[in-house]
Symmetry: C2
Subunit: 191 residues, 2 copies
Amino acid sequence: MSRSRLTPEREAELFEAVLELVCEVGYDSLTMDAVAARTRSSKATLYRQWHSKPELVATALQHGAGPGANQVDTGSLRGDFRAMLAQTNAKEMEKDSALLRALVHAVHTNPDLYDALRTKVIAPEEAALRTVIDRAVERGEISASNPAREFVPHMLFGLFFAVQMIEDRIPTVDFMTRYVDAVVLPALEAR
Amino acid sequence: MSRSRLTPEREAELFEAVLELVCEVGYDSLTMDAVAARTRSSKATLYRQWHSKPELVATALQHGAGPGANQVDTGSLRGDFRAMLAQTNAKEMEKDSALLRALVHAVHTNPDLYDALRTKVIAPEEAALRTVIDRAVERGEISASNPAREFVPHMLFGLFFAVQMIEDRIPTVDFMTRYVDAVVLPALEAR
């Protein structure tokens, strides 16, 4: 008997439902009962396959679609930021924001959950940003020794949370574009 | 009979315990039972006084000490940022981080809680930052029309969350100082 008796399609559906539930109720309030009800599974099946709530949520994160691999390369740093933002659709932005918001407390005390979030959601975005920045350095648009380079992921990830705390809303693409122009590019002294 | 039968000292103690519990278990997992146990009160007392969990937590936030009112005024923008960071002690930074982290999801769906957090924790910090920036404009250190001005609170609040998501730790004062020098001051084109 194989470990999994779920088809890949059914599994993908289940993982999506888990992440939806996390966004709706928060990680702490998520119960295996709610997952079972939402996905029309038995709790026995859930526990047999994933053993615990943290393992189920971490696995759901690992299997999520993740950010699109469409690397941008427009020939300028400003152009690359614009293109990255243009790829972002409002619905995905809302989904990612909700997920980060729902997990930021839980990951702090749950290393497995943190690793899953880091690997699946944060690291790919960070890598995409670093590629864009490295190319700007190669083109001579920004200095290799500019100390703001290491903080580009912080400037952009932080914005998601800051806008929610300060203005109680999700940042729009327009807002992020203004922030990139007013803060990120000047800090990098982009020429 | 007065509405409150708790002394102000007892109330302050209770509010502090509520915020500690929020930081430990998260808002969603906080129960009135846990508050009653931690504060050695009866649940009946808690409900009689505060009616509901959101009301109790919002009131606890409202009554919290809030950030120190020590306005800094060193004569330069860099000096003011340095002085603000020097006032921050590591323990308070950890406490504030834990509170923001614990509440960021809950406030999104609970307007009363958001208002309490905004009024008590966010607005005073934002006001202190704006005072520092306005003085730098008056001194001619930064241009009144610099578009990064409006984003100073975002750059700094966001950093709390970004460091936790990207590096799984609380930002240190040293880290924040490097960020101010590398990002905030250059974005403001401080002279």
